[in-house]
């Protein structure tokens, strides 16, 4: 795999002195989906805007497909499609015309068949001759995606594509992303919704205060940091964890009616069999058993709060 997007020590200091990016370095491989997670003001949009040419970097280099975004901006930007966070569209323009315009802006010759294909895939074909102001919010977001895809980009940036979008449309978006991935498009998306990253990303990056705290394969990340908990519900309440079970580092659940055992799912021996045996031998009566795995959200919240000064 080769890096289609390479970011080296990227810094951005705004005119007011605010340092939005503090030396971000990141390689993104062709065809992968990277989700950038971070709280508001973390630097997600600044990172995307800088790569796409909307803001100028203060220091550092970015190459797209080997082309520097400053010295070889035409080649670099030709490879990039951007779906911005805010719905920004010319209200009086017709859907098909605005997509054609985007293609022209990127120097590509008119291709009505391609525009039709994009509009059909995004369920916009029926609205092709509608003015943008007549569309619903969800449709407008689709138009933004259609515009970004009009010049057949190899790298697509989706800046919070599902912010304020209903559940059904969010699922649709995920399907669209999935299809684009099949076409080999590299996708970088920022999101507040951790479930979104969990559902569609190959890798997850966590950004906060302008610093990239980590970038890791999603499954590995969840495996590495993911802990599982086994909760054993008891028929009678306990005041404390019985001495016979002291080795297991158990926590007493709510009202003392359950015991909670935390273990690593990747460990060779989880110790569950032995624990359950010992619980039975200590004379406790079980009423139920359930397990819980920590989600990306727990990992994210943990990372961001650790990263805070």
């Amino acid at each position: 795999m080769t890096a289609i997007l390479s970011i080296q020590d990227l810094r951005k200091v705004y005119a007011g002195g605010f340092e939005a990016l503090k030396g971000v370095s990141l390689d993104i491989e062709e065809g992968e989906i990277l989700a950038l997670l971070g709280p508001n003001g973390a630097g997600k949009t600044t990172l995307i805007s800088t790569i796409c040419g909307i803001t100028t970097p203060s220091a550092g280099t970015v190459t797209v497909g080997g082309h520097d975004i400053l010295t070889d901006f035409r080649a670099a930007r030709s490879l990039i499609g951007l779906v911005p966070q805010e719905v920004a569209l010319e209200p009086f323009e017709k859907v098909r015309n605005t997509v054609r315009f985007s293609r022209g802006l990127f120097g590509k010759p008119t291709d009505d068949a391609l525009v039709e294909n994009i509009l059909r895939r995004l369920s916009l074909w029926d609205k092709k001759d509608s003015s943008i102001k007549e569309l619903s919010g969800g449709m407008k977001r689709r138009v933004l995606i259609a515009k970004a895809l009009a010049h057949e980009p190899r790298v697509l940036f989706l800046d919070e594509p599902t912010a304020g979008v209903d559940v059904e449309l969010r699922k649709d978006m995920w399907d669209i992303v999935d299809e684009l991935k099949k076409d080999g498009v590299t996708i970088i998306l920022t999101t507040h919704y951790i479930e979104e990253a969990e559902a569609i990303a190959d890798r997850v990056g966590v950004i906060n205060n302008g610093e990239l705290l980590l970038v890791e394969d999603k499954d590995a990340l969840m495996g590495r940091m993911g802990q599982k908990q086994l909760e054993v519900h008891l028929s009678a309440a306990l005041d404390a964890v019985p001495a016979a079970l002291a080795d297991y580092n158990l926590d007493l659940g709510k009202d003392g009616r359950s015991l909670i055992y935390t273990y690593d799912i990747r460990a060779e021996r989880t110790g569950i069999t032995r624990l359950l045996n010992d619980v039975a031998q200590s004379g406790l009566v079980l009423t139920d058993v359930n397990t819980q795995q920590s989600s990306l959200e727990d990992i994210f919240v943990g990372l961001v709060s650790e990263g805070k000064p």
Binding site: I54, F73, A88, N97, L105
Partner: protein
């Protein structure tokens, strides 16, 4: 050079013009007609001739310039301000195009619209008064150069403007007075000597004088001065735009 992008911007801007064709046409036609009724018929009937030309015909070049200058500025400033206002400017900034291409697209379209309206006014005027054009090539050249220069000025204003009030401010407070005091409706020679000197600091005087020369072969200032003035104005606007592109002022964060 990304000519496809220039064409895309140009077409997009022209489409806006054609969407509002009626307003684009009606307003200049109506105002020109009113000028002729008020200045040409009511006042003009009391003024015999200005330097051998009937007053009605004398004000034609000034009227055309008045509209062309205001239209060039408003079209170009709105053209670039609107994407900034609604946020679609992101697309221009992230496209593989240089500022030169952006300017060519927007200024080209704004100048075309202004030229179009200039022609409409000239036609409307011909319905009210008789006039001949002594130097047609020079007339077209002056018209085109004026459209381009003031569209460039409008583009700069559109980038500078932070809100709609500012967008209106410069045309209202500076350009309209300069045009009205630039000899649109009178010859400089009709003013007292002191004001004649003051007037020479108004750049629009040179434009209107040169443009009027192309119609009637007579001018307040020499035609060479007029050409030099418009060339200087054009170059100044180009220099400012070059600086804007270089620094990304008010466009790139």
């Amino acid at each position: 050079m990304n000519w496809t992008a220039v064409a895309a911007i140009y077409r997009f801007e022209m489409a806006r013009f054609f969407r509002t064709l009626m307003q684009s046409f009606l307003s200049p036609v109506l105002s020109t007609s009113l000028y002729f009724v008020v200045f040409g018929a009511a006042i003009g009937s009391r003024i015999d001739q200005v330097e051998g030309v009937s007053y009605g015909a004398f004000i034609v070049p000034g009227l055309v310039m008045l509209s062309v200058i205001t239209q060039s500025i408003s079209n170009a400033s709105f053209g670039i301000y609107f994407p900034k206002f609604i946020g679609t400017v992101y697309e221009l900034l992230s496209a593989p195009i240089s500022f030169l291409e952006i300017v060519l697209g927007y200024v080209g379209a704004a100048a075309t619209k202004a030229l179009f309206i200039g022609c409409v006014i000239l036609f409307t005027a011909s319905l009210f008064v008789d006039f001949t054009i002594a130097h047609p090539v020079a007339m077209v050249a002056f018209l085109v150069l004026t459209c381009l220069s003031f569209a460039l000025l409008g583009f700069i204003l559109g980038i500078w403007a932070g809100n709609f009030e500012q967008l209106q401010l410069v045309p209202l407070l500076i350009v309209t007075p300069l045009v009205f005091l630039g000899g649109s409706f009178y010859s400089i020679s009709m003013l007292p000597p002191v004001w004649q000197t003051v007037t020479l600091f108004n750049p629009v005087v040179y434009l209107i004088s040169g443009f009027r020369w192309s119609f009637f072969g007579m001018a307040d200032v020499s035609i060479g001065f007029s050409l030099a003035a418009i060339a200087l104005f054009l170059c100044t606007c180009l220099a400012v735009i070059w600086w804007i592109f270089k620094t990304g002022w008010r466009l790139r964060g």
